[in-house]
């Protein structure tokens, strides 16, 4: 399936212009987590039906809206537009807010608004409401596999002709409690640097947040950023020009990544741009798709490279056709999403 539009909300702003700017600039010390600035998600036009929405919903609604706008699909297609949102942890800030209510006011004194926004599918519902899309709308969660599974489902839905276009994307957020949990379960990068190529047993991480959406379609006329698939063939001929690794410290032991160092092809990772997130692969795919469209490669933001990967050391204009975004999940299973631009 083809990517016709991309929307992104991340710690350095909204939209592909800011994404490209961030990729060119490279690493900037996070302060202290990769948090989306409040002013990034205050678009009153897009959020006019979302006065009660939490930040997770706002990020997702804006990213989905931008992906649709970027795609240029016809306005009358909203019956044929599906929405698939994937999230590793859902609206946990709202959930903990609801638990606050229970603890403070008791079982009978809680806020129904908080409760109804604490369900995982609230964000997707707001997207459908905002876009007035009446097609299939689904939310899924699968920790590190979340975005991979969402892409598989989007491919399946399009092949079945369940919809003509799909907004498929991810959203995850940072919150005080989740940051505390990360600090207990994972090793924080005290110098502010996620080191994707260290392949460490106890890798360092810094929590990130944001939302990325892709407008995908089977019709080649919507091929703006190349194709995307989570079910690529596994043969040797299918080696990519570039690997984007999601080694962001979120899944523990990263020693397995070191075996990739011998592979042909260039390597990069944008975890130090976006922060550590189980749904990082959707952000990596956005960066990858942008590179395919622009035929430009953006340097690794952190260049520590003890295993001698053939990493991208500088921004350069270079022909690139095939990119694999790769992550090993907590069970050391390999998850690959392939991006490809054939016609150059």
């Amino acid at each position: 399936m083809y990517i016709a539009g991309i929307g992104i909300v991340f710690n350095r702003g909204r939209g592909l212009v800011n994404l490209e700017k961030a990729l060119i600039e490279g690493w900037v010390k996070p302060a202290p987590a990769y948090q989306v600035p409040a002013e990034t998600i205050t678009d009153k036009q897009v959020l006019k039906e979302a006065r009660r929405a939490d930040n997770l919903t706002k990020m997702a609604t804006i990213a989905a809206f931008d992906a649709l706008m970027d795609s240029g699909i016809p306005e009358q297609s909203k019956e044929k537009l599906g929405v698939i949102l994937t999230t590793a942890f859902g609206p946990h800030v709202t959930t903990f807010g609801f638990l606050d209510d229970i603890l403070t006011y008791g079982d009978a004194g809680v806020s129904p608004t908080l409760f109804s926004h604490s369900v995982h599918n609230a964000a997707a519902s707001y997207i459908a409401l905002n876009l007035q899309s009446r097609g299939p709308t689904l939310t899924m969660t699968q920790f590190a596999d979340s975005f991979h599974q969402a892409i598989i489902l989007a491919e399946s839905w399009l092949k079945e002709k369940r919809c003509e276009y799909i907004l498929v994307g991810s959203a995850d957020q940072i919150g005080k409690v989740m940051e505390y949990i990360c600090s207990r379960k994972l090793k924080p990068a005290l110098d502010g640097k996620i080191k994707p190529f260290n392949c460490a047993k106890e890798p360092e991480s810094i929590p990130g947040e944001g939302s990325t959406f892709f407008l995908v379609a089977d019709n080649e006329k919507y091929n703006k950023y190349g194709s995307i698939s989570a079910m690529p063939s596994n043969n040797k001929k299918n080696d990519p020009d570039l690997y984007i690794l999601d080694s962001d410290g979120m899944c523990g032991d990263e020693r397995l990544y070191s075996r990739l160092a011998k592979n042909k092809g260039l390597f990069t990772s944008y975890a130090p741009i976006f922060g550590s997130m189980l749904t990082l692969s959707s952000f990596s795919c956005a960066a990858g798709a942008l590179m395919l469209k622009n035929q430009k490669l953006y340097a690794c933001p952190i260049k520590e490279n003890p295993h001698n990967f053939n990493i991208l050391t500088k921004n350069e204009t270079l022909s690139v056709h095939k990119i694999k975004c790769l992550r090993y999940n907590c069970y050391q299973e390999e998850l690959i999403i392939q991006l490809e631009m054939k016609n150059f």
Binding site: R51, R52, G109, S111, P112, T113, S116
Partner: protein, 93 residues
């Protein structure tokens, strides 16, 4: 006597307006600008069914008032005036 009632109703109305704006996330609405007889649901402020149950919680937390029968809600929640009167009557009991 009438004066103190009116004084108290005025206080309740002011508090209500502030509570509605902050707890129902009514962006761009200034509490003082809400009229006492402005219709709250559908028209006017444009509140909906989720706001209605949220107001029930607000009344309980801030005025110690239980709205047991939601079918009465439509009358009680009609405007700031009707809400304030309901609070006044039920607080006194």
């Amino acid at each position: 006597m009438a004066d103190s009632k009116e004084q108290e109703l005025k206080t309740i109305r002011k508090k209500l307006k502030e509570l509605l704006v902050s707890h129902l996330s009514l962006e761009d609405v200034i509490p003082e600008k809400i009229k006492d007889d402005e219709i709250l649901f559908g028209e006017g402020l444009g509140l909906d069914s989720l706001d209605a149950v949220e107001i029930v919680v607000l009344l309980q937390r801030n005025f110690g008032i239980e709205v047991k029968d939601m079918s009465q809600g439509r009358k009680i929640f009609y405007s700031i005036d009707t809400l304030a009167n309901y609070i006044y009557e039920n607080q006194k009991k």
